[in-house]
């Protein structure tokens, strides 16, 4: 059995995935990115191999912000391509390829796929971090909760607030002023999700959208955001099986193709 590795060097975390030649995901792991990206990558890969008892990796592919400096990897590929590949493995049953919405730590991307999972086009958010995972994290902090709890809490809301600021810093103060005005935490969170979803939906050009929508990235694990997204689009939104690792899995898949 040959093992292929994909490394996704994101802004906040380094993600890695191991797959075999059939495309089965063997193991995944995450490690926070320190200063030494390279060292972290090496440690992480070794740890993953150890966990499933694999001795060697046939080919390693890197993607993400720090892909150029990951010396462990033989080659690198951009996240867009990696995500498009990753979906082949992580997409749930019944997903017709159309659109991937990736909500990462510092950026969010929208990738249009044709029916062969090839990239038709893509768009990314502007420089600022509104509509990204970071945004969510900041708000969660203000509301004294954690990022995993944000989703479930928001679902309890009955009358979501309006949050409009497009910028993290402004949104932060907006949320603070909402808190000061004694708004319910649940409503604020629901409002935040709606605002994020709006922001991302703006990036989607609906006429280019063929099949279904798949969410990947850390943001996909947030059920509240997903609901808001569905609300905004009036469509069902699928979530990838390993949303966080989609890029890494994609990279690994490319690695296996490269090898063959």
């Amino acid at each position: 059995m040959s093992v292929y590795a994909g490394l996704d060097g994101g802004s906040t975390y380094l993600k890695a995935a191991l797959i075999d030649h059939t495309g089965k995901v063997l193991n995944t792991g995450v490690k926070s990115t320190g200063i030494d990206n390279n060292g972290a990558a090496k440690v992480l890969l070794e740890q993953l191999c150890r966990e499933i008892g694999v001795s060697r990796i046939d080919y390693t592919m890197a993607t993400g912000y720090s892909r150029k400096i990951l010396e462990v990897a033989e080659d690198d590929v951009s996240e867009i391509t990696a995500h498009a590949y990753g979906v082949r493995i992580t997409a749930p049953q019944g997903y017709r390829p159309g659109l991937i919405v990736d909500i990462g730590g510092q950026d969010s991307k929208v990738i249009y796929l044709d029916d062969q999972y090839r990239v038709k086009n893509f768009s990314m958010n502007d420089k600022c971090a509104a509509g990204t995972g970071k945004f969510m994290e900041v708000i969660a902090q203000i509301l004294e909760t954690t990022i995993d709890q944000v989703g479930p809490i928001s679902l309890e809301s009955t009358a979501p607030c309006d949050i409009n600021s497009t910028c993290v810093v402004f949104a932060q103060s907006e949320v603070i002023s909402l808190v000061a005005r004694k708004f319910d935490r649940r409503d604020i969170l629901a409002g935040m999700h709606a605002s994020m979803a709006r922001r991302i939906v703006k990036m989607i050009r609906k006429n280019e959208m063929g099949g279904d929508i798949l969410m990947t990235g850390g943001g996909a694990m947030n059920i509240g955001l997903r609901r808001a997204f569905e609300d905004e689009l009036m469509r069902d939104v699928y979530v990838a099986t390993h949303p966080q690792f989609n890029g890494a899995i994609g990279a690994a898949l490319i690695a296996s193709e490269r090898r063959n």
Partner: protein, 411 residues
């Protein structure tokens, strides 16, 4: 001053290497270096400064033998004007303001500055410069380009500029001078078109960034005649080189860089394109497309020649100053039809909102040709290089896959 010199030298050195040893290239690099060298900037006291590309070059050349063109573009000069301009002012205006108002050199000491009031930034810049004691003559740019009234108005405004400049320099705008300037620009245009064609034939002869710098050097060349002569030589050299050697087919996807103008020395985007493995086939922006705009036929009266110039320019002009920027759209369409362009990069300089408004139209046009468009918003700062790089690399990958797919289908 040192920083500015560094900025320019770095670009020239970096880009200057990217060719296959054509000796003629050095002349152009030297011209550029000369135009921006510390000595020139400090000692040169031009009598006419032309701000921006909206004023027809033939008019400027007819009004003065050695006009100085300021197109903006340098990062360092934008810093110099920070205290004068609001936060959201666009980098081109910032830079232009920096060129004219700083403590290091005073280009405008003896000069009259002419400019077209083609955008909000330009309008307010004109009044700002006047407030600082610089002589400014500004032409009002009509927002429509398709009515004869607008063309009459633009002709009248050009005459107004001519009057203002004549009063300052005591050089009268005669039909004779204008005719000579028109003829010279026509030569420049022909040489430039030939040169561009040959670089398309041999994409590996030199980097697109270098090609565009060579083309841009015409703004700064002290003598256009010499420029034409040298460019013809260079074209001949490349032609000979093309015949002599075997060329591997270039696999790089061709892209079109359109939207806000790229101005020397801000070669951030062309360099990034190069690094991401894309071939910058052509630039479709207000400065690069000057070569597309034909010159008026030499007529007998100044009035008539200017009217004709207004006619031609307003049909083709590509600055964002019109209500609808048809000129730019048709230029893009022209490139899509005649060049194997597989992607369009829509460049929006922060603050040049007019190009942002045009994006949907360009997207619609590109969709007809099944060419993807990516919008890049940036300024002259270097901070966002990494973000841009990610986008461009992904774009390049996508184009490559698409091209392969196309070839596969074709087979």
């Amino acid at each position: 001053m040192d920083k500015l010199q560094n900025e320019i030298r770095t670009i020239l050195e970096q880009v200057g290497q990217e060719h296959r040893g054509f000796p003629e290239v050095n002349w152009f690099l030297k011209t550029m270096e000369q135009a921006f060298s510390a000595e020139t900037l400090i000692s040169e006291k031009p009598s006419l400064i032309v701000l921006g590309e909206d004023i027809p070059r033939e008019l400027a050349l007819a009004l003065s033998d050695h006009p100085r063109f300021i197109l903006g573009g340098s990062l360092e000069t934008t810093h110099w004007s920070d205290a004068l301009l609001p936060r959201d002012a666009d980098p081109v205006s910032r830079s232009a303001c920096g060129w004219l108002l700083n403590e290091k050199f005073n280009l405008a000491e003896n000069a009259i500055v002419i400019m077209a009031l083609s955008s909000d930034n330009r309008r307010k810049l004109a009044s700002l410069l006047r407030g600082k004691g610089i002589r400014v003559a500004a032409a009002d740019m009509p927002p429509r380009h398709d009515t004869s009234e607008a063309r009459d108005a633009w002709t009248a405004e050009m005459l107004r500029l001519a009057d203002a400049v004549s009063a300052h320099t005591h050089i009268r705008l005669s039909a004779h001078r204008l005719k000579a300037a028109i003829r010279r620009r026509e030569q420049v245009r022909e040489a430039a078109i030939d040169f561009k064609n040959i670089t398309w034939q041999a994409t590996d002869s030199m980097s697109p960034a270098l090609r565009d710098i060579i083309m841009e050097s015409v703004w700064y060349a002290p003598d256009r005649k010499e420029w034409v002569y040298n460019l013809r030589n260079l074209t001949a050299q490349i032609t000979a080189w093309v015949r002599q050697y075997y060329h591997q087919p270039d696999e790089r996807p061709w892209v079109l860089l359109a939207g806000s103008p790229i101005v020397f020395p801000n070669e951030k985007l062309p360099n990034l394109l190069e690094a991401s493995g894309l071939y910058l086939a052509d630039r479709a922006d207000a400065i690069a497309l000057q070569t597309d705009i034909p010159c008026a036929d030499a007529g007998h009266s100044v009035q008539r020649m200017l009217r004709r110039t207004a006619d031609l320019r307003m049909r083709m002009e590509t600055s964002g100053s019109w209500i609808s920027n048809d000129g730019l759209l048709s230029a893009v369409q022209n490139r899509l039809e005649h060049l194997p362009v597989s992607g369009i990069i829509w460049h929006v300089l922060k603050g040049q909102i007019e190009y942002d408004f045009e994006l949907p139209k360009v997207e619609a046009l590109a969709a007809e040709y099944d060419v993807p468009v990516i919008r890049l918003e940036t300024d002259y700062q270097q901070q966002d290089v990494e973000q841009l790089r990610i986008r461009l690399e992904a774009f390049a990958e996508m184009l490559r896959v698409r091209n392969q797919e196309r070839i596969r289908i074709a087979q």
